[in-house]
Amino acid sequence: MIEVEDVYFTYPNGVEALRGVSLKIADGEFVAIMGQNGAGKTTLVKHFNGLLKPTKGRVLIDGVDTREVSVAKLSRKVGLVFQNPDHQLFSETVEEEISFALRNFGFNEKIIRERVNWALNLLDLVQYRRTSPFMLSGGERKRVALASVLAWDPKIIILDEPTIGQDSRQKERLRQFIIQMNQQGKTVIIVTHDIEFVVECEPRVILMANGKIIADGETREVLTDPDLVSRSSLILPEITQVFMNLNDLGFPREVIDVYEAKRLILERLNGGIKK
């Protein structure tokens, strides 16, 4: 359980990144934090593993104040995958990169081997086992960074902009394993701009603007609200845009996915004016 209680955070240069944020994320939830660049999203999630401590207010992880434990200890529970993989990668091979944290946490060699193989498989990286992370493409490096965090099996997983640079097939894989991890009881938090990805996952959506939370609710409810969406520099989902324009013909506006769109159009064509 993550509890954020009226948190303010000001960077040393005076930038007020969080201005009174309160929220609760229960175990096993799947949450997307969205909003404009500079809205405070990354600053907020850096509070979850103790990388940043509140200037005012407090953050509790399973009831423990983040100011009272080390980042190393919190990390065992809360895995944060950075937006830019280059801030995270440093080893000579992909395999070493993934093993590094496992060694630090004191796992034995057999478990390390198993975990590394599992993570390489999961993220489609087996062929790069002995490759230097820096020889890989941006999208691939991103998957290495993700694999190295997943390998130590934290119960809360935070992914900062996981879909950047990923092609549609990798995104679909990412979606599937996020859902799978979530079903296995992990708390999954993604920070993202990728509206279409969020539409496909349908998590709880938290919208931020100017260091505050401006909306918190179901994907459909939050992302089809034109006012909220424009206040956070997002755009409406593609399918919602289509249906906004079809509103005159009596279609609902809150349509987000292709399947639903198709069903509504077919119903109309087949004569039944079903509302």
Binding site: G38, E140, G165, D167, S168, Q170, I239, Q241, V242, I265
Partner: protein, 284 residues
């Protein structure tokens, strides 16, 4: 004559075991807007690096075959010569900006070329206006938002008055509204100034309406090349892992159920029109 022409182009990075791409034949005409896509690691970024001579002059490695860009054989001309014709914009604008003010950043390339002061002034103002950042000219680039920074990067390239601009995932780290605005800027450069655009993108929903041609690469090969509406309908497109816009998926899904829209939509506006049309036609 084509503005870009590759014949049997094959490139292998230093120390790499196999080529990043091989035997590429490609012709791009002046004024085209090309959307270049394909799964990560397919060779599209590498191909872009060839277009302004970064390959082979900066990266080394082995380049075989022939590549002519704006009439210059890239192997025979230095990067600075090619750069007058081809501007390159990267994914992360921070990597490209360094000056203390936006204006200085945009002027930098021209100063290096020894362009006269008046001419620099004129071109910098022009580039700042077209990209919509004239009022930011005295600000420091690092204080700006990601979207604004990307406009500075585009303005810097534009000031050189290149015939070709290559953009490698220029919107991927921007919020959707900034991304949309950047694509509008790129669209204007193509439509109003006739600049040839090569845009590398994974996400095709915002860009495909502006492109006259989509090129799909996989494993170092060009596997599909044609008008967006045609390429999106190819079965392979989906299999390769190209992110087809949702409005195209809706079109396909309706078609499977016996409802044909009169053409493939490339934007939500177009999709709503086509759907409204189909509904009225059905009733009438």
């Amino acid at each position: 004559m084509a503005i870009i022409e590759a014949k049997g182009l094959t490139y292998t990075y230093p120390f790499a075991e196999k080529p990043a791409f091989k035997n590429i034949d490609l012709k791009i005409e002046k004024g085209e807007f090309i959307l270049l896509t394909g799964p990560s690691g397919c060779g599209k970024t590498t191909l872009c690096r060839c277009l302004n001579g970064l390959i082979p002059h900066f990266y080394g490695g082995k380049l075989e075959g022939e590549l002519t860009v704006a009439g210059l054989k890239t192997t025979e001309h230095a990067i600075y010569e090619i750069a007058r014709h081809v501007g390159l914009v990267f994914q992360n604008p921070e990597n490209q900006l360094f000056a203390l003010t936006v204006e200085k950043d945009v002027a930098f390339g021209l100063e290096n070329l020894g362009v006269p002061r008046d001419e620099i002034r004129r071109r910098v103002d022009w580039a700042l206006k077209i990209t919509g950042i004239y009022e930011l000219r005295d600000r420091a680039p690092f204080e700006l938002s990601g979207g604004q920074q990307q406009r500075v990067a585009i303005a810097s390239v534009l000031a050189m008055q290149p015939e070709i601009i290559v953009l490698d995932e220029p919107t991927s780290s921007l919020d959707p509204l900034s991304a949309k605005n950047i694509l509008d800027v790129i669209h204007r450069l193509n439509k109003d100034l006739g600049i040839t655009i090569i845009l590398v993108e994974h996400r095709l929903d915002l860009a495909s309406r502006y492109a006259n041609r989509v090129i799909v690469m996989r494993d170092g090969q060009i596997v599909l090349d044609g008008e967006p509406r045609k390429v999106f309908l190819q079965r392979e497109t989906k299999l390769i892992g190209v992110g087809i816009p949702k409005v195209v998926r809706l079109y396909l899904s309706l078609k499977e159920n016996g409802v044909g829209l009169s053409k493939v939509p490339l934007s939500p506006e177009e999709a709503s029109q086509l759907i409204a049309e189909a509904l009225t036609f059905d009733r009438g």
